[in-house]
Symmetry: C3
Subunit: 196 residues, 3 copies
C-alpha cells in the first residue's frame, strides 16, 4: 500500500476505509440493490411442519380444514372435478417442530388456499403461522403460488408480528407426506432476510 | 470536548460526526437488524374504525358484507355451524374517523376473511383500506391472523399505494363493539415503520 | 465554484461530495423515509398482460377462471346479482408480453379475487405471477383493492421469489379489453422499488 505522506492523507485513508466498510457491511448487503442472483444470508431461520386433515364429510372431529364452495354454473362440479379447480380450502392446522402429527403443537397454521388449475394441482396460498412457544411468540404472514407437483415451492413471507415484527423473507414449502386426499404434511423452511 | 488543533483535525471531527449521525439517525434505525424486541418509533400513525354489517338474508339494503360458501361434504353445514368454520365473508365496509357508524366515511375497507377454527372464533384476513379524504388518498393493504376472542390482534401492513406508497407496518385490530352476529365495529391502530 | 485553497480543503470537498452522492444515490433513494410524494425511480420495470376467461357453464375447455360460491342466506343470489357482490373468482390465466391472447405465454397469473361491492364493480385481489421464460424465472406476489371502473388501479407487490427474490413495488392494473362478462384482458405495469 502507498505510504501515508501526511496527516491529511492519513485521515483521507481512514475515511475511505470507513466508507468502504459501510458499503460492504453485512447489514448494507441486505438492502435493496438492482443486481440479481446474489446469495444473501438469512438473519433468522426456522423449519416447521404443519398437518392438514381435510374434512371429507365423516371426519368432523379430526378435520383441520374444509373445502368451501364450488365453481358456479349449470353443473357445479364440472370444473372442480379432478384437480379441485375453483375450490377453496380453509384451514387451522397444528404446527410441529418435527414430522410427527402427534408431537406437541407449537402453534397453528391458519388461512386459506384455492385450487387454481384445471389440468394439474396448483394452489394459491394466503395464511399465517401463529406461534405460541417459549422460543417464539408472534405471527408470520405468507402468500404465494404453490405448484403442488413440484418438489419445492417458494412463497413470500410478507410480514410478521411479535417476535417476527416487520420480518420479510422467503419460505420453501415441501410436501413431506400425504395420504389420499385427506392428510397432507408440509414442511416449511423459512428464511428471513429482513429481521428488524 | 477536545480543542481543534488544526483545520485537518476539525474536518476529521466533522466527518466523524456526520457518519455517527447517519448511523444513529431515526431512518437508519428503521432498517432490518437481526436483534429482536427493539422498540421502533412509527414514521406514521393512524387510528380508523370500520363497520361490518353482515348480510342475514333480510338486510340487503344495509348489509356491507356477506358470507360465501360452506364446507363441502355430505352435510354442508356440520363444520360451519357454530364458529362458521370454513365460511368466507366478503366485505365493503365504511371507514370512519370515530366510532360512529353514521360519521362521514373517509374510505372503504374492502376484502375478505375466512373463519378458520372449529372450536372458537378465529379468522384470516386479507383486505385493503381505500382512503379518499383531503388528508389521505391511497390504499393500505393488510393480511394476517385474527383470533377474534383476543382483545387486541396484530396483523401486517404489507404494502400501500398513493400517499401510502410502499409503506409497511403493523396494525392492531380491536373489536370495538358488536351486536349479535350482524354488526361488528373494529378499530384499527395502524403503525407504519417504513414510510418512504 | 470556490477554488481549492489547500490539500486539506480539497479532501474535505471530496468527502462531502462522497457523502452527498451516497445520500442521493438511487439505492439510498429506495430506503424508507417519512416524507411522502417523492418520485422514486424503479429498479426494475415490467409490462405484462393476462387473459381471464371466466367459466360460464359451457366453456370448460377454454375457461381459465371460475366463480365460486354465492352469499349465504335464504335467497343465495340477491346480493350477488348485479355486481357479483360476494362472489369469489379463482383463476389460472396465461400471461403474455403483448395484448394477444394467442401469443406464446411467458407464465401464469394464479390466484383469486372477490367481488366486494353491492353497487359497482370492485374486487379484492390476491394472486401471483409465475414466470417461466429465458429472461425471468420466479414468482411475483400481489395483493390489493381493484376498483374495476377506474381506468388505472394501483396494487402492491408484496414479495417475490427466484429472479424476483424479496422484491417489492407497486403495480398499475388496467382493463385493456373485455367481452361481456366472459373475457377480460388486463395489462399490469409493474414497478419494483426494492430489487435486492
Amino acid at each position: 500500500m502507498a505510504r501515508a505522506r501526511s496527516t491529511t492523507s492519513s485521515i483521507a485513508q481512514i475515511i475511505i476505509l470507513l466508507l468502504i466498510s459501510f458499503f460492504s457491511s453485512p447489514s448494507s448487503a441486505a438492502y435493496p440493490a438492482a443486481t440479481k442472483k446474489k446469495q444473501y444470508k438469512p438473519c433468522k431461520h426456522l423449519v416447521l411442519f404443519f398437518h392438514d386433515i381435510i374434512y371429507n364429510g365423516e371426519n368432523a372431529a379430526n378435520a383441520t380444514s374444509a373445502m368451501v364452495g364450488a365453481p358456479a354454473g349449470a353443473n357445479l362440479t364440472i370444473l372442480a372435478d379432478k384437480f379441485h379447480f375453483g375450490n377453496m380450502v380453509v384451514f387451522d392446522d397444528p404446527i410441529t417442530l418435527d414430522n410427527n402429527l402427534h408431537s406437541p403443537p407449537v402453534g397453528r397454521a391458519q388461512g386459506m388456499y384455492v385450487y387454481d388449475t384445471k389440468n394439474t394441482y396448483t394452489a394459491w396460498l394466503g395464511f399465517s403461522f401463529v406461534l405460541n412457544t417459549t422460543d417464539y411468540q408472534g405471527s408470520i404472514n405468507f402468500i404465494g403460488a404453490d405448484p403442488l407437483m413440484n418438489k419445492t415451492r417458494d412463497i413470500s413471507v410478507v410480514g410478521g408480528t411479535g417476535d417476527f415484527f416487520m420480518h420479510r423473507g422467503v419460505a420453501t414449502v415441501m410436501t413431506d407426506s400425504f395420504e389420499g386426499e385427506v392428510y397432507f404434511r408440509l414442511s416449511v423452511d423459512i428464511n428471513f432476510y429482513e429481521c428488524w
